[in-house]
């Protein structure tokens, strides 16, 4: 092989490796993120569940963020409530995942210093076979190679075509508050 061709191939390989390297460096991952949802009504038992094994991947180059929560990992204080949630409302055997895909709008990671930043988060939440557009403001904090994303938003059971039977309707709030708490580390 002529030398110039060899150089060309070598250059190509180096550029390719470089690309992989850059890509790999700009991913932030959390395997144990927290999502809490609450739909409690005053005077009634708390309707609240926590998932502490949410996966989140943030791509700092494109600002794209993807989260995945396994529905069965939502834990209620009351085991019976958890069973009802899985069987009758979320139908987690048929719809095992809640997935959010979105973007941190106009976010510039390199400009983010120690202080918190309020960032628009826009995207689509898929749950129970239905999609819902989500738009909220989250707090992003950076500490070295770690990135914390905190926020909340409101959804309703109707957004996801979940019907609440009349008999329990006054025990479950019309609006469900969802809180997110992710701590991502550079990978």
């Amino acid at each position: 092989m002529p030398t110039h061709m060899l150089k060309g191939v070598l250059g190509f390989v180096l550029v390719f490796l470089g690309l992989i390297g850059v890509n790999a460096q700009e991913k932030y991952i959390d395997k144990n993120g927290i999502i809490i949802f609450e739909a409690s009504e005053k005077l009634f038992e708390k309707v609240k569940a926590t998932n502490e094994t949410v996966t989140t991947i943030f791509d700092a180059q494109t600002n794209e963020i993807a989260c995945l929560a396994l529905v069965k990992a939502f834990r209620f204080k009351n085991a019976l409530m958890q069973e009802h949630f899985n069987e009758n409302y979320a139908e987690s055997d048929s719809y095992p995942k809640a997935i959010f895909k979105g973007k941190l709008v106009d976010f510039k990671l390199e400009e983010l210093q120690a202080q918190n930043a309020e960032v628009d988060l826009k995207g689509k939440l898929s749950f129970h076979g239905k999609d819902k557009e989500i738009e909220t403001v989250v707090t992003v904090q950076r500490a070295g190679d770690k990135l914390a994303i905190l926020g909340d938003f409101i959804v309703t059971p109707a957004d996801f075509d979940i019907k609440i039977p009349k008999i329990v309707r006054n025990k479950i709030a019309k609006e469900v508050q969802v809180k997110i708490d992710f701590k991502l580390a550079k990978k």
Partner: protein, 127 residues
């Protein structure tokens, strides 16, 4: 006659109490205790991952599983075995390190397609 009445009253009270107790235990029944349950499957992390990807994994969901493998990644309360399964322990502060081989018992929660990992929670160490 009087005695009969008393017996009847005692029976009613007893029956009522029994029903209340039964109702209470059913309604407030606690969560599963995975570490005390008999495992339905006992397999390696690799096998669990392969079987899941081949057949979809429905038979594993919500089941108590013993899985064994080598720790390839660690976080405060969870480990990754063979880059194939993520295990979250009930107890925190376990003394483990990368490269340790172990078997765990836990509940299979599902499959994470973002990271391509089978997730297991409420785990405890078996050996």
């Amino acid at each position: 006659m009087n005695r009969r009445k008393w017996t009847f009253a005692a029976l009613v009270v007893f029956f009522t109490l029994a029903m209340v107790w039964l109702g209470y235990t059913v309604l407030s029944s606690g969560h599963r205790s995975i570490s005390e349950e008999e495992a339905i499957y006992d397999l390696s992390a690799e096998k669990l991952f392969m079987d899941w990807n081949r057949e979809g994994g429905k038979r594993f969901v919500d089941q108590t599983i013993i899985a064994s493998g080598t720790i390839t990644e660690m976080e405060k309360n969870s480990v990754i075995l063979n880059n194939k399964i993520q295990v979250n322990f009930i107890d925190s502060g376990l003394e483990l390190s990368n490269g340790d081989s172990l078997a765990i018992k836990g509940r299979c929660v599902g499959y994470d397609d973002l990271l391509e990992l089978v997730k297991i929670d409420q785990a405890s160490i078996v050996n």
